[in-house]
Amino acid sequence: MNDKVDVLIIGSGASGAAVAYSLADTKMRILCLEQGDWVKPTDYPTNGRDWEARLFADFAINPNRRARETDYPINNGTSPVQVVNFNGVGGSTIMYTAHYPRLHPSDFRVRTLDGVADDWPVDYETLEPFFAENDRMMGVSGLAGDPAYPLHHPPMPPLPLGKSGQAFGRALNKLGWHWWPSDSAIATTEYDGRAACINLGHCTPGCAQGAKASTDITYWPAAIRAGVELRTRACVREITVDADGLATGAIYYDADGKEHFQPAEMVIVACNGIGTPRLMLNSQSGKFPNGIANSSGLVGKNLMFHPFALTYGYVDEPLDGNKGPPLNLWSQEFYETDLARGFVRGYTLQLHRGTGSIVEAIASTAAGRLPWGEDHHKVYRRLLGHRLGMSTITEDLPEEHNRVTLDPVLKDSHGIPAPRIHYTMGENTRKMMDHGIARSKDILAAAGATDIGGEAPILNGGWHLMGTARMGTDPARSVVNEWGRCHDVKNLFIVDGSIWVTSGGVNPTSTIQALALYIADSIKKHLGDGTLFE
């Protein structure tokens, strides 16, 4: 049997890395189990000529397509949005686009302000120091002074506007609408031993330059230097409990499929909004026949995705194409509730730079815009490098029927039941999306774009995974309390996107990590006054 550790973290992604780093200064014995591998900078697609092709192969964002040995399959059922992720050290930050907005103060108060869903048991002010600490650790670029946010100061200057950014800026100014350089977890200067972005333009499937802040190159080196152990190729099957219902550790499989038990004083789950409910539902015992810490019945329920709508068109002037990080601006003109729009809450418009030449050809052929035959060449030359696109990131409200369950048939390579997704888009989200598409078309018209196209919702757009083990003060209506501890199991914590009460309308990772740092800080405070497991 393995030696007992003080803290066992499961999952090494955005939140697992942040919590490991923060707890390291307690000098407790901390171990993180991660089912995937380290990714080497030389593994990333931009090292080779086949960089765009690998987006459809070993660096595909959809794990069912990528199908690495370290991935688990997902049954997406009839969901119009499919789950995308990465399993390895750094988790989905290996694949994320590093667009890094925070939730807004109003996002934590949706019941009070708008009468829907629930308020969070924490607020923006409480998280503010953790946002700042996380920005410093990840290395965030941006511009202070955005009127859509409380004042904060990203540590590095913003990404360049480029041709696409200027085209957007002119169009949005014509309409009198808000836009601002995004907070991005991308180094625009040398930062903490990391090189600056050289505009490879392919951030999503990993940054060979090391400019994009995935947690394998930000938090993990610091956590490991501080004494945390990270064990890769350790796929956790279940969290175990004793007769009192306290977590005792976890059972996992190593790369050879050998089963191990890892005992621990406390367990922290950081497997993301799908992996966490899957693990909890798989952790059945006499004490918890429906999955660990699930007396509320809410483990797996209230799945929120942020359904995305992509809208784009083509302008005459040349744009940046795939040069530079794909996302560098946002508009939050329609973020805060205005009931005159016919829906409650709001959305971000994420403004895109462009696509690579192959992705343009594939997307335009699929859309019927790019013909076969002699005309192919002429049309393609008009499209390539002229695409102006944006995404509507809708706030998805929690609905219990949107959920993760265990698939009765599908299993991973270790025989562990795979997750199954049950998801339909709510009426409010649908109306919000239609509004976002209409406003996107207004922007494209103001920019002089033609040949308008889109995808709504984006099928492979389940990148934001939230709500499946929600936070709250009432044990009957939530899984974890206001500082991430399970109501039912006093030495079990959850720190990933599962604990979100509502989704807001922004990319979540900055807030996921700020919450993980806040929970780590709360653990340290309760450790200090002896109330950690009370």
Binding site: A148, L200, Q209, S357, A366, G373, H376
Partner: protein, 148 residues
């Protein structure tokens, strides 16, 4: 040239179809997708799309009433047009492989004004742009809702 993982007949049809999809062009001085080097790359790159491509080619042969490659050019175009309408997801996979290989060919990339190289380590230059465009937004009052 080995046609594996396809049979000779499948490979012949695929090559003929690739030539219909993206023909060589004197105007743009580019080869077609049926060019020998590009087609060899296509065969090598079928990978996880092999099954879909085979399904698509079987559908194509059915529409052609035999070997698509044996049809006269006009008839090929007609059958290809029907196939484009009816091909569904398997055709999507076939299309993707053809485009992936075509647009990474050195000759094609040069004709598009691109350098035939991997993005790393040289990267690209992106201009800063005119930041004064942001001035009107900077003048806006705070838009976020206060909660206390």
């Amino acid at each position: 040239m080995s046609t594996l993982p396809l049979t000779d007949a499948e490979a012949r049809d695929l090559r003929a179809l690739a030539g219909v999809m993206i023909p060589a062009s004197d105007t743009y001085k580019v080869p077609g997708a049926d060019d020998e080097a590009i087609f060899a790359d296509i065969l090598k790159s079928l990978d996880r799309d092999t099954a879909d491509v085979r399904t698509a080619l079987a559908h194509l042969a059915k529409l052609a009433g035999g070997a698509f490659a044996d049809l006269a050019p006009d008839r090929r175009r007609d059958v290809a047009a029907t196939f484009k309408q009816e091909g569904g997801a398997p055709l999507g996979a076939l299309n993707r492989v053809v485009l992936l290989c075509y647009y990474r060919d050195d000759r094609v990339m040069r004709s598009l004004g691109q350098e035939p190289r991997s993005p790393f380590p040289k990267g690209h230059v992106v201009e800063q742009g005119d930041w004064s465009l942001l001035d009107p937004v900077k003048k806006r009052a705070p838009m976020w809702r206060r909660t206390s």
